[in-house]
Subunit: 525 residues, 2 copies
């Protein structure tokens, strides 16, 4: 073991001849801190000021505190050595150092640093880092290709690519469900899920298999095994889940369509967090054959896209929706949903309603007790989830990450009596939602607030989860289609953030709902 | 259409309030030039000096000329808009601008620019760019995953991943052979090539399917359809081919093993260009079943790795080589090979021989007329290649990129008489090589010089190809195993560059040859 306290003579590096000794010492000390992931030292070398900068392909951080918080959750860098350095004095006490690092395991990185001499010595005031090129982002994808599977025919989706959530069967591939132990034991599927075949048959190419929260039983978008995909709209924020991989792939432009599932909000939440269009379809309308279930009473298939036009193309092809009657241009706002929204979301939503009200009748209605609805929903969901996965989980103790493990542990305790009671108590609520969408469309914020930070505490994530599911459960309980359209923007600690406007239509109105949402987007823009 | 000559008021961007008007105008004008890919304007905005810097994840360029040459071959960037800017004045007439761009098709980029006020106005003296995150590098990979296929068992290769050249059958996948038309028509394989199964059975996981030059009929490593993979050792240089994808993947640390083929040098050349270890095996020793042929008389299977220890692990498992007798510690240098080497390579090679000579007898020998050998080799190779691929190529006019198309066109003209004559003329040459490796090992530079620049002219590439094949053909003609070990470093226009030392052993001595090369590396270090 190297003695970390020993001061070694820094190695000579091509290009370091002109660097002043004191600056070169600082550079080497900083590099040692990077490789050792010595957080205190890294904090010390970055100028302690609110305008210090650090950027990489994941985004730009401003201020010493933001940089420090980022480092605390990043983990270290792979072993590397500085191979070359370029020094450009910019002014007295200000210097540019650009260095190339070579990683022990192959590949190079590039670091641009602007150093300034402060009273305490040289400090970095701005840095831009290019890490060693990864093959791909394992937090987003499990497999990816050009294409991973080709389109089966020319069609209206020709030229589009799709990311499929790792729950769908593809002949010859395994389903991983976001869990490495499950993937290890999975056998290649012999047939392809119809929801996948339909996209291929419409001309879309399969871009890749994208990550999901474990067994789709979460809405945060983190995964204890593969990491948290980046939020394509709000750097530093959670991506939303459980369709986190497809959503991030689409938001980043790495695929055009996300093929996903929504049991309790798993399409709508990441759509809202990442500024995407997302459709949860009518329960049972899109075949779920070949899709790993979570809670069959609520599981649905749907899609994520960057724009409404693409979502309409996809829905139009996949739903064969020509027989649908158009939806009325009449909206109802569930007042209990507005009460759950954060003030900034409520304000932005009210502004949208004001604009919409110029062309459409809008009525405020009571939808019922959302907390009670969610409580019963989650009882039934838990009972079904345990029925689906309990045997495997019992045989694989310790296979799950923390929050999902806790959720399944609670699910194991739901009694048949409790399940049955919850199911019956949900009936009037479902009837109420169906009545409200009989001759109008429900409109509400998809989520209470914008995507939380990746550094949010588990307690905070849990509180957000509860509030969110109170908003997303009603559509699931009613089996009704629901869309998230990226029509709100609100301030957040991480910058201006998207929030989705949710519409719920009557069962079977899926394509009409997409068209209505597009018309709404036009009406309020 | 936007009128490119119209001067528009630049959009207001969050953060631009403090930027001096003249600098902000320059920033916007430069950004317009980037999006329009206006090369003259881009050249003008970068400070015309030999110490101007531009870096990205692909490497660091120093000097206005190098930056200009890079831009000329890059093509433009995707449509984007600046979303945010951070301005930090560094000194009078020196400013840092860090900006975030948002791409129309999703994803963000980051640009760090240091501007200085010159007599003619503000100019960029240093820039660091993070492009929008791609899903993966399509020049390296066709498909990639974690894993794309799991290991079939625990074994001596457990923990290692491999990139397979896109010529090997994998059950359920298609073979693309570096050509999109061929890939489009390919049907999924029903069985997996034994060379792939053996690695999976030894514990290695399949990381991905990596690119090849079209039908493996090139050694440059460029591909007209998918782009040129980066050289992992020498940024800006060609990767070498035809096993370009596996070689770049291994050099960049994106896989541990490259599973590839070597007909005329397709493993040894990229190994030499990228500082890797590469083994061409004895003809027929590794089963070629399930591998798309090029010229069956010479086609062999082999591997690329970053270090000799891994190559020995792989060869030891795959070759079952316990029955091999060790090779003698005695070397022969073909003087005709040395004459083909560039002066810097010859000098480095002679230094290595001097070091090796302290422990081993080294004899200089004549191997024969390498030009004549190559000429006859390529006649037979061409005839066989046309026999394999001619029918498909006749049915797909225009399917091939330029240089490979020209090569196949010439191949179509080889008469049976010419082929037979060449085959007979090769016999004494093969016998000569076999005699030379009967009780010694041939040692020679793998290639005449380091990897040429990606901007080299076709004529230059062609001359390099001819000289290279004169060095690599003898092992192919003799059916003998040959290794490339990264033991030379020479100066090049792109910086210090690796060059491989080649060893040729007697048929069947493959594993012994790897061990000998490792011993040689130790002896000369």
């Amino acid at each position: 073991m190297r003695d970390a306290t020993a001061v070694q003579a820094p190695p000579r590096i091509p290009g370091d001849e002109t660097v002043p000794a004191e600056l070169l010492d600082a550079f080497h000390a900083y590099e040692r801190a990077v490789v050792a992931n010595d957080l205190d030292a890294l904090d010390a070398w970055f100028d302690d000021a609110p305008d210090t900068l650090r950027g990489d392909e994941g985004g730009l951080l401003v201020g010493h505190d933001a940089i420090s918080a980022f480092r605390a959750q990043r983990g270290g860098v792979a072993p590397r050595a500085i191979e070359r350095i370029e020094h450009r004095p910019l002014a007295d006490g200000t210097a540019l150092l650009v260095s190339v690092s070579r990683f022990d395991a192959g590949g190079r990185g590039l670091q641009t640093q602007i150093w300034r001499r402060r009273a305490a010595g040289w400090r970095i005031v701005a840095a831009h880092v290019s890490a060693r090129p990864r093959a791909f982002d394992r937090a987003i994808w499990r497999e990816v290709g050009e294409p991973l599977a080709p389109a089966a025919a020319d069609g209206p989706l020709s030229g589009l690519s799709f990311a499929v959530k790792d729950l769908f069967a593809i002949a010859g591939s395994r389903v991983g469900a976001g869990n490495p132990a499950y993937l290890d034991e999975a056998r290649p599927a012999t047939t392809t899920a119809p929801a996948v075949s339909t996209l291929l048959g419409g001309g879309a190419a399969l871009r890749g298999i994208a990550r999901t929260d474990e067994f789709a039983y979460s809405i945060a978008g983190d995964n204890a095994h593969y990491g948290t995909p980046p939020n394509g709209a709000l750097p530093g924020a959670l991506p939303g889940g459980s369709s986190s991989g497809p959503a991030s792939a689409v938001a980043l432009g790495q695929a055009d369509i996300g093929l996903a599932t929504d049991t309790a909000g798993s399409i709508r939440v990441p759509a809202s967090y990442q500024g995407l269009w997302g459709l949860r379809t009518t329960h049972g309308r899109v075949p779920r054959r070949g899709v790993l279930p979570l809670a069959p009473a609520f599981d649905t298939v749907g899609w994520l896209t960057r724009d409404g036009e693409t979502l309409e193309r996809v829905a139009s092809w996949c739903l064969d929706g020509d027989a649908e009657a158009p939806l009325p241009w009449r909206f109802r706002v569930p007042v209990e949903a507005l009460e759950l929204a954060e003030p900034a979301v409520r304000e932005a939503f009210e502004e949208l309603l004001a604009a919409l009200g110029r062309t459409a009748p809008i009525e405020r209605v009571s939808i019922g007790d959302l907390a009670a609805c969610h409580e019963r929903f989650r009882t039934v969901q838990a009972a079904e989830a345990w029925r689906v996965h309990g045997a495997w989980l019992d045989a694989h103790p310790g296979a799950l990450g923390g929050a999902v493990a806790a959720r399944f542990a609670a699910a194991a305790e739901v009694t048949p009596f409790a399940e049955q009671a919850a199911r019956e108590q949900l009936r009037p609520f479902a009837a109420r939602v169906r009545a409200l969408v009989g001759d109008a469309v429900l409109i509400l914020p998809v989520v209470p607030g914008p995507a939380p930070s990746r550094t949010a505490e588990p307690d905070e994530i849990d509180a957000i989860r509860t509030a969110t599911l109170r908003l997303t459960a009603p559509a699931a309980v009613a089996g009704a289609p629901s869309i998230s359209a990226p029509l709100l923007t609100v301030p957040s600690a991480l910058g201006r953030a998207p929030v989705g406007v949710g519409l719920i239509g009557r069962a079977g109105s899926d394509l009409s709902l997409v068209r209505l949402a597009r018309a709404l987007a036009d009406a309020v823009s």
